[in-house]
């Protein structure tokens, strides 16, 4: 079946601009996660959705970052007033919920470059 998809695959923007990154999870997965991976690092947690609600947004670095999942499926990560330090690969993952459903499946990521 189809895996997690993310668009765009690459995004180049200028400092101060607004960007939106989209994630389409595996069909039927109620849990959705956003991570950010900088060069030479492992992915770092940003936010977790259970259904439509953000159950844990403790990883968002500041209030320029916001994410939504209005219908419990597709999610959008929004970054306002982008800074050069926001350049990274933004990864989305989804999973089922419940005991034995712990595996998170990742999409290919969106490579964001802020000039």
């Amino acid at each position: 079946g189809a895996g997690v998809s993310q668009t765009p695959s690459n995004k180049v923007t200028e400092k101060g601009k607004y960007v939106e990154l989209r994630c389409d999870p595996i069909s039927g997965h109620t849990a959705l996660y956003w991570y950010r991976q900088s060069l030479g690092q492992g992915p770092e947690f940003l936010i977790y959705f259970q259904g439509t609600g953000a159950a844990d947004d403790s990883g968002l670095p500041n209030d320029r970052f916001f994410a939504v999942r209005p219908e419990g499926s597709v999610s959008t990560l929004k970054i306002q007033r982008t800074e050069r330090g926001d350049s990274a690969v933004y990864l989305c993952a989804s999973s089922l919920t419940g005991v034995g459903q712990e595996t998170q499946y990742f999409g290919p990521g969106t490579r964001l470059l802020v000039l």
């Binding site: 993310q6 492992g42 947690f45 844990d56 990883g59 712990e102 595996t103 998170q104 990521g109």
Partner: protein
Amino acid sequence: DQQVKQNSPSLSVQEGRISILNCDYTNSMFDYFLWYKKYPAEGPTFLISISSIKDKNEDGRFTVFLNKSAKHLSLHIVPSQPGDSAVYFCAARTPGAGSYQLTFGKGTKLSVIP
């Protein structure tokens, strides 16, 4: 302070031999551990996992061992194949109501030499 550490940034192994990738963690509350494999320009691909209540899980050529007292886990690949060459990430899950976030190590780049 890194809660999940992969102290070897790289590892080279001859084809057909065993590859052993190591991971240490500091948070005794982690309840689930996963290994992911990542090729360049792709997202991490799930490989194998283990619950904190077990000490071993095997899937084909891949075996993960967990030593809770030492807060250490390892991934064994045998026999190693050139297609196994990739970056391997160890990840640990934080339990608790409302959060199932994964904490990742920095990764180990495995090169399997034909």
